[in-house]
């Protein structure tokens, strides 16, 4: 049963904020995506021809192919977020941990984390430590208020994500896990807005991207697409002494040319720019010096898949306060809808 939109809502009037808030505030460190997967599954109910969960836990929703000239197109946005896993609880109840994905010590100190059972903890640091300057993750611990291992509400092996509510600052939204829940929101909105497409579109909400693009690797093998796009955040060059990048908040959906893991298929870069210009959607070219996305894994699955990426510019990536601009988010939705509604000829 498909939802019945009477007409496509112009992009600047779409209100994605409640959906974004729900997704970014959800729990789901890599390998522990059950909660966020359930939330996304209920958000996409009724939109696709079929929905399935594959062996590693990827959530896959497929719009089956209509036209003979259509392609099998895979879109990937990852559901998992970076986090921490408890490795030991000492005699006084303080927990040591190991990182899940790229967690930097400086973004942790004084921050809060939340476990699957809703227990909240504070990250403290050894005041008397050996290292000069920047602490390492071994200098940090989680305090849940427990006095001993026996009374601890968490145990070894429990995983936590950062815990911080969403804030709105003008056109901008700030939250933990914009990487990559903002792209999950974009993908859900694309599913809602996509009325007619010649292609079989495989919307994949992947698992375990932050620890090595693992869900993308296996889901792409299973789906065997002909073209793939990942949707992920990218860094920006617009903060003081920031990275040397042209990408800036508010300058539109970022079309990835290359990152440290892959080189986008140039034909897809050209195609995306063409579709953006046809629909008067603001876009910018992205060259990312460090970091990568699910597309890098999909590109080399089986006999290879022409792959590209539509990125959401984001400041302060992998911190509890990742910042995106709604104009870029809306532009990404429109760009993807445009691209999927029209032929993809390579």
């Amino acid at each position: 049963m498909k939802l019945n939109h009477v007409s496509r809502i112009p992009y600047h009037e779409v209100n994605m904020k409640p959906l974004i808030k729900k997704l970014v505030e959800s729990y789901g460190p890599s390998g522990h995506e059950e909660q966020i997967r359930e939330i996304i599954r209920s958000e996409i109910k009724g939109l696709a021809d079929y929905v399935t969960i594959d062996p590693l836990g990827n959530l896959i929703a497929v719009y089956k192919k209509k036209a003979k000239s259509g392609k099998k197109v895979m879109l990937a946005a990852h559901m998992d977020e970076i986090g921490l896993i408890v490795s030991h609880i000492d005699s006084k109840g303080f927990a040591s941990f190991v990182p899940v994905g790229g967690v930097r010590p400086l973004t942790c100190i004084g921050g809060r984390v939340r476990f699957a059972n809703d227990v909240v903890g504070v990250i403290g640091v050894h005041e008397r430590r050996d290292s000069n300057g920047v602490p390492t993750l071994d200098d940090l611990f989680i305090d849940t208020g427990a006095a001993s291992p026996d009374t601890s509400p968490i145990k070894v092996g429990d995983a936590a994500g950062f815990f911080r509510p969403l804030e709105e600052i003008g056109d901008r939204l700030v939250a933990k896990s914009m990487d990559d829940r903002i792209s999950c929101a974009v993908m859900i909105e694309v599913m809602r807005q996509l009325k007619r497409t010649p292609h079989e579109v495989q919307f994949v909400f992947t698992v375990q991207e932050e620890i090595g693009t693992r869900g993308a690797t296996t889901s792409a093998f299973g789906l065997d697409p002909e073209v793939a796009f990942s949707i992920d955040v990218t860094a920006t060059g617009d903060t003081p002494k920031g990275p040397r990048m042209e990408v800036a908040l508010g300058n539109g959906a970022a079309i990835k040319v290359r990152d440290s893991g892959m080189i986008s298929d140039p034909r897809l870069v050209t195609l995306l720019e063409q579709r953006a210009s046809e629909a008067k959607v603001k876009s910018q070219r992205e060259v990312l010096p460090g970091g990568s996305t699910d597309a890098r894994a999909i590109q080399v699955v089986r006999a290879g898949v022409p792959s590209g990426c539509v990125s959401i510019p984001c400041r302060y990536v992998h911190s509890p306060s990742e910042m995106v601009d709604m104009r870029d988010v809306n532009a990404a939705v429109s760009l993807l809808v445009q691209t999927l509604e029209k032929p993809i000829d390579l």
Partner: protein
């Protein structure tokens, strides 16, 4: 019943450890472990161990075959054609050395195969080549070493193997630590217990009868990058995988009174260790639950391995094809990747017991979401 407060200063009496005599099956398993430990099979040259295992499993499996990489498969068919396919693996290769070439002095330079700490090399006796020629890693005796030389670690490329002018050694020959296997009562001591302990456990598992299509794979080249497993996972196309390896027990007390040992990884004698999260794999939670609940209901001792680094063949297997839910269960071992590791006999027996029980009560419910 409240536990006694362990921090009270008390005269410590040493509990005598009761060693129960082994059952016939356990004694056979231990004898196989001895044979496997003393055989030489450095990554890439696994023939000697593959032969021992092949002889041991020929009468236990319906099909036995060897693939292009040298992985040995032993398959026990299920009664039903729609039974779940479960891949269970152990790796047959060990870390060791490869002879690089002969020097003018008649000594041989060599390289490490797999991860070996440079600090444990000086003066160690080796077995070199298929004939297990005796040699030693030469070094300068303490009488002649200057004080400042003693504080630097000698790198492996500065070391040589001395085989006493035996001319049959050549470049490409493998070498391992020359360690005879010994039963110490509560534990055993030997080289290559990583992962001959896993291999012996897997052979023991093949003695059972199970409601699944059981594909036992004795994999090659784990220590140099999980290479055999990648191929074995692709070939087997299982519904689930259980990997049996050997993992460090770094469980001796910390030397610093203020600090507990919080990086023990696993503890010797506390049972087979179930992995949840290592560098290569997030274990499938349904399989962790199945193993843990099986252990609880059958009263088999077990522990959870600390999350952190390290990896097993599961790292390769779970990413094959469309993905394979996987979990690793390891025999804890002290001093792994060294001339002499220690493994607890109870942990060794219980690892087989646990995986056998988990396979015996396997059903489609195990993988239900």
């Amino acid at each position: 019943m409240a536990k006694k407060n362990k921090t009270k200063a008390k005269k410590k009496t040493i509990r005598p450890i009761k060693v129960t005599p082994p059952t016939a099956a356990q004694a056979d398993s231990l004898a196989l472990l001895k044979q496997l430990s003393e055989a030489v099979a450095v990554s890439g040259d696994e023939g000697a161990v593959r032969k021992i295992i092949r002889d041991a499993v020929t009468n236990l499996a319906d099909e036995v075959n060897v693939d292009a990489m040298g992985n040995l498969f032993a398959i026990k068919h299920a009664a039903s054609p729609r039974a779940p396919r479960v891949l269970v693996t152990a790796h047959i290769d060990e870390i060791g050395f490869m002879i690089v070439g002969e020097g003018k002095d008649g000594l041989y330079s060599f390289e490490a195969v797999g991860g070996i700490d440079d600090r444990i090399l000086l003066g160690k006796p080796l077995w070199v080549g298929a004939d297990k020629i005796n040699g030693v890693i030469g070094f300068k005796p303490i009488h002649l070493v200057k004080p400042n030389e003693r504080s630097t670690v000698v790198k492996i490329d500065a070391l040589k193997v001395d085989v006493g002018a035996n001319r049959s050694v050549k470049a490409g020959d493998r070498a391992t630590f020359a360690t005879p296997f010994v039963d110490l009562g509560f534990t055993v001591r030997g080289k290559a217990l990583d992962d001959r302990a896993g291999c012996a456990v897997l052979v023991e598992i093949l003695r059972g009868k199970y409601p699944v299509e059981l594909i036992a794979a004795f994999t090659v080249q784990e220590e140099v990058g999980l290479r055999g497993a990648k191929v074995a996972g692709y070939t087997a196309e299982p519904d689930a995988a259980i990997v049996i390896d050997c993992t460090p027990a770094n469980d001796l007390p910390s030397q610093d009174d203020e600090v507990e040992n919080s990086h023990y990884n696993t503890k010797l004698g506390h049972g087979p260790a179930i992995y949840s999260f290592d560098r290569g794999t997030v274990s499938d939670k349904r399989l962790i639950k199945h193993l843990a609940s099986t252990a609880e209901s059958k009263r088999i001792s077990y522990q959870h391995r600390q999350p952190g680094g390290g990896g097993t063949d599961a790292g390769a297997i779970h990413l094959t094809r469309g993905g394979v839910p996987s979990v690793s269960v390891s025999v804890p071992g002290r001093y792994l990747h060294s001339p002499a590791a220690l493994v607890s006999k109870d942990d060794f027996y219980n690892t087989a017991k646990l995986v056998r029980a988990a396979l015996e009560n396997w059903s489609p419910k195990v993988l239900k979401r």
